[in-house]
Each structure stands twice: as structure tokens, then as C-alpha cells.
Point group: C2
Chain length 126, copies 2
């Protein structure tokens, strides 16, 4: 079953009671987390920058998602005592390591976007 015409390996992923992949997807597979991580992967952002940078996100969801990311140790939040207030968000070391597997997914998505699109159209015409 692994004998195909490609040289793509067949990684074995744990699927028992709690699959590690699903664990992170539960915390990063939501609507906004990855977008935020991507933006912060480029540089430090303050709250309003993220709000403007992520199209369609509400203030509420930005707040909630950031809080979750901070809680999980993926993002650092630093409040600058100043008037007006200024809060900076940046990836932690841990968050930066997450960029690696994410970019792998990104490359896959970019490479096979059209394949999926084609498969879907094929399916829908039936």
C-alpha cells in the first residue's frame, strides 16, 4: 500500500486515545490563531496593528485568541507604561519553533491548492 509511484514516505502518526496532532489543532486550528502567529512571525505587532492586519477579525476575537496564545506560551505580551497605552505582542521562542511545521503545511497548501480545487469540481459534477 506504500508502493506508489512517488518517493513520498508514509509517516506513521499516533492515533490512539489522544493524538498529538489533534491536540495542537484544538488550540491552533481555530479561525484566527494561525493568522496571528503568521503575522507575529514577521515582526512584533501591537494590538491595533494586528487588528488592522487581520482582515475581518473582531476586537473581541483578537483579544480572546491572543490571550489563549499567551496562555499556551506561544506569544509574549508586554505592556508599555505610557499614555496612550501600548501593548506589544511577539512570538516566544516556542512560538517561533511552531512556524516551522506551519510553513510545511503552508507549502503543501500552496502546492496542492489547485489539486483540491480540481477534485472538488470533479466531485460536484456528479
Amino acid at each position: 500500500m506504500s508502493a506508489t509511484n512517488t518517493n513520498v514516505p508514509d509517516p506513521i502518526l499516533a492515533t490512539d486515545d489522544e493524538c498529538p496532532v489533534r491536540e495542537i489543532l484544538d488550540r491552533v486550528g481555530d479561525k484566527w490563531s494561525v493568522l496571528i502567529v503568521c503575522l507575529l512571525g514577521r515582526r512584533v505587532h501591537r494590538f491595533s496593528e494586528l487588528h488592522r492586519g487581520i482582515d475581518g477579525i473582531s476586537q473581541r476575537m483578537l483579544t480572546l485568541t491572543l490571550r489563549a496564545l499567551v496562555r499556551d506560551g506561544l506569544v509574549d505580551r508586554t505592556v508599555h507604561a505610557a499614555v496612550p497605552p501600548r501593548v506589544d505582542y511577539e512570538l516566544t521562542e516556542l512560538g517561533r519553533t511552531l512556524l516551522v511545521p506551519l510553513s510545511a503545511l503552508d507549502q503543501w497548501a500552496t502546492a496542492h491548492r489547485s489539486d483540491i480545487q480540481a477534485a472538488r469540481e470533479r466531485y460536484d459534477n456528479a
Copy 2:
């Protein structure tokens, strides 16, 4: 900002209007898709095998998720004319390539599971 004490690169992910990563997460970041893909990554499964193999999934969600995976060209469905009926599901070539970035995520999750756990406890005690 990329100058840290690790040798982890800083991949730049597209975050514009439609980020490719988010696109697949929309289709594979749901509750069951990845689990199914993981199982099928090991070998062909029939419907009832998947149902038993994935703890907690309902017949309904298994059906719906499989249909979506088939539609996107990640899974092949073959009906064997027999009594009782028998339907086999297996990864397509495209689906098998997806295992690669998924296993990257899996490795990250496995490696940093405890880090996240620790960060969360630290956060909650405050």
C-alpha cells in the same frame, strides 16, 4: 528579531487576504479529518473499522467527514458489490502527501506538549 539563541529559521508565511495555511485548516482543522487521515495513513480501512478506530465519533460525523475528504480528493472510496455491503476507504496519492506536513506538526506537538502544559499552568497561577 530573528537573532535568537536557536538555529530555528523564521519562515515567512503569506498572511494576505487568503493565507494558504488557513485554507487547509478550514478543511482539515476540524475535529475528525486529521484522525481519519492518520488512520488511513496506516492502511485501508472500511467504514466500520474507522468507526471503531476513532473514539467518540458518531456515524453521522464519520460519514460527513469522509465525504468531505473524498470530495477534496484526499481519500478514495471503493464500494465492493457484496452482501453484506463493504466500502473501503484509503488515502489518494494527494492524501498521502499530506501526511508529510502533518507528521511535522505531529513531531512538533509531541516535542512541545509539555512546554505548553507548563506555560498554561504558569499562566493559570496568576
